[in-house]
Amino acid sequence: MTIEVKNLVKKFGSFAALDGVDLKVDNGELLALLGPSGSGKTTLLRIIAGLDWPDSGEVSFNGEDALAQGARERHVGFVFQHYALFRHMSVFENVAFGLRVQPRAVRKDEATIRARVKELLDLVQLDWLADRYPSQLSGGQRQRIALARALAIEPRILLLDEPFGALDAKVRKELRRWLRSLHHEINVTSIFVTHDQEEALEVANRVVVMDKGRIEQIGSPDDVYESPATAFVHGFIGESIELPVQVDGGVIRLGDRPLQLAAEGLAPGASKLFVRRHDMLVGPAGSGAFEGAVQHVRNFGPVQRAEVALSGGETIEIDAPRDKELRAGDTIGLNPRRYRIFAG
């Protein structure tokens, strides 16, 4: 199933949750909608599911107008952030719900329903919990049951809203890997919403980065990390150093200090320079584009994280390998291995 979204606009009062969103999702994809809270990602997901309606724009599944159908007819599996399991039903009945409410004409007989539920519980590896109630399950178990319930109706599309948002870090990591292999197995076109970049980059085969109701970039996890299209994406994904610089006459300046960095093709004016923390190479004083005094050093496994006060007045954090120990008070030169400059 392919999904196509065209020029979607949705306002809540004067707040534009979606401000002209275009998106194409290919058949069998596992797509991540990544953005900070309030970026409109959940609204987009809910509109695709039919739980919300846009003010204008189009949504189509396989070229068919989806907005002409209600949530009930769309045949979309939706997994909620807080699971939304039916609290008065056993795990078994939760999963069976979608099969039991089918119109009588197409409803399967009891034996078929039981077999199908058993199969789904096996798929999420929780068949031993069939008689429990949602309140008796852990968060990770609830989420997997919610997924099994959504899959019961053999959805054309699977939508997951912050599927791991309410879980603790360890369970989250496990479930991520599990979700990716599950998607590989069932191969349903899936979209999941997350504010966690690691989750998006690790699980999805394509990432859509959103901010303020607009799409900032669509690309593979490598694309959005290695070649961010906008200042927002660079700042949001990965840990970046952001410096306000001035471009004029082929020279980049930080405050008064001209930086020895290539400035070809850059528009003159105030700009932002982005460097990944680990892309700042440390050298002796006077050797690099930047110059600074080490303020504070902490060790994180393979790297040392140093706070450096640049001579331009800004303070930045860099991640350096631990082969050369940095000490507070050192004056060092810094050279960005890679950097990007965005106007504005």
Partner: protein
């Protein structure tokens, strides 16, 4: 003299540790709770107050009802007038609880699950019957349906009797007891949110299926709780009913009204016999309420994630 001083000194020295310990324990205690004397005083006061103002009247009601023996008690209840009052009370309660169940569900649903302008006003309006004196509630219906009321002449022309008849009593009771079901359900439904309903719909359930399979089971204890309180009030309502009833003996007297009439006629056994039924209702309501509250709490536990 010197002996005494020495004694004191040695005593305090040997006891210093123990006293220190006791003081520490006392400090810990005072962090946790009031001094024992205060605790005992407060508990005694509460128990005394409850005994005098709640338990004693209840006991007196039953004592009076049975003061001339069990036979007199049942004879009083078997009086046609008493039977008529009991029947009328049951009918009125059934009507008003039924209506309020539907209205309350609809109102709670609207408030908890939708956003619309004027919602806060509606919530305030639901509480109106609680804040207005029941007598005034009754008078409103007299103004509307009485002979000189807005609809009075129209009703007379069409030969419809509302005031001084069952419809009037049922209307007044319904008005007075309206908030119970809605009040019980609004916080419950607000807390539960709409996600389970959304999940049901996305799984292909129709509106009715969603209501009967998801919404209703989730709020059933709340519904029962509201119905229980609503029923207790409906059967016991005096003020509003008194205004619209007309006190026609054997016809428009509910149990509370009849209690007053009998009492004023010095028929104490009969009055308290019927009063004892109302007291019994109160006791049953209380027990049922405790049971339901336990279920409601359990429901809340399920909800935490």
């Amino acid at each position: 003299m010197t002996m005494q001083i020495a004694d004191t000194v040695s005593l305090s020295a040997s006891d210093a540790k123990a006293r220190e310990k006791a003081r520490a324990a006392a400090a810990r205690d005072s962090l946790r709770t009031e001094p024992p004397a205060v605790r005992i005083a407060i508990i005694t006061l509460a128990v005394l107050f409850l005994s005098v103002f709640v338990v004693l009247p209840l006991v007196v009601v039953f004592a009076q009802a049975f003061s001339k023996g069990v036979l007199a008690y049942f004879a009083a209840l078997a009086e046609p007038e008493a039977m008529a009052a009991i029947k009328l009370t049951l009918i009125v309660a059934a009507i008003s609880v039924g209506l309020n169940l539907v209205f309350g569900l609809v109102a709670a649903w609207a408030i908890a699950k939708f956003e619309f302008p004027g919602k806060t006003f509606l919530i305030t309006l639901i509480d109106l019957p609680f804040s207005v004196s029941p007598v005034i509630s009754g008078l409103v219906f007299v103004l509307l349906f009485g002979a000189q009321g807005y609809f009075g002449s129209w009703l007379r022309d069409h030969d419809i009797q509302i005031l001084f008849a069952v419809p009037g009593i049922a209307l007044a009771t319904t008005f007075v007891t309206f908030p119970f079901v809605a009040r019980a359900l609004i916080p419950l439904m607000q807390e539960q949110g709409t996600q389970e309903e959304e999940a049901a719909i996305s799984l292909g359930a129709s509106g009715l299926q969603t209501f009967f399979r998801v919404t209703l089971p989730n709020i059933k204890w709340g519904v029962l709780y509201g119905v229980l309180l609503c029923n207790a009030r409906a059967m016991g309502e005096f003020g509003a009913v008194s205004v619209v009833s007309g006190h026609i003996r054997g016809e428009t007297n509910t149990m509370p009204l009849l209690v007053e009439i009998l009492y004023n006629e010095y028929q104490f056994v009969a009055a308290f016999a019927i009063a004892s039924l109302l007291a019994m209702l109160a006791l049953i309501t209380l027990i049922a309420k405790t049971v339901l509250e336990r279920h409601l709490d359990e429901g809340q536990d399920v909800n935490d994630h």
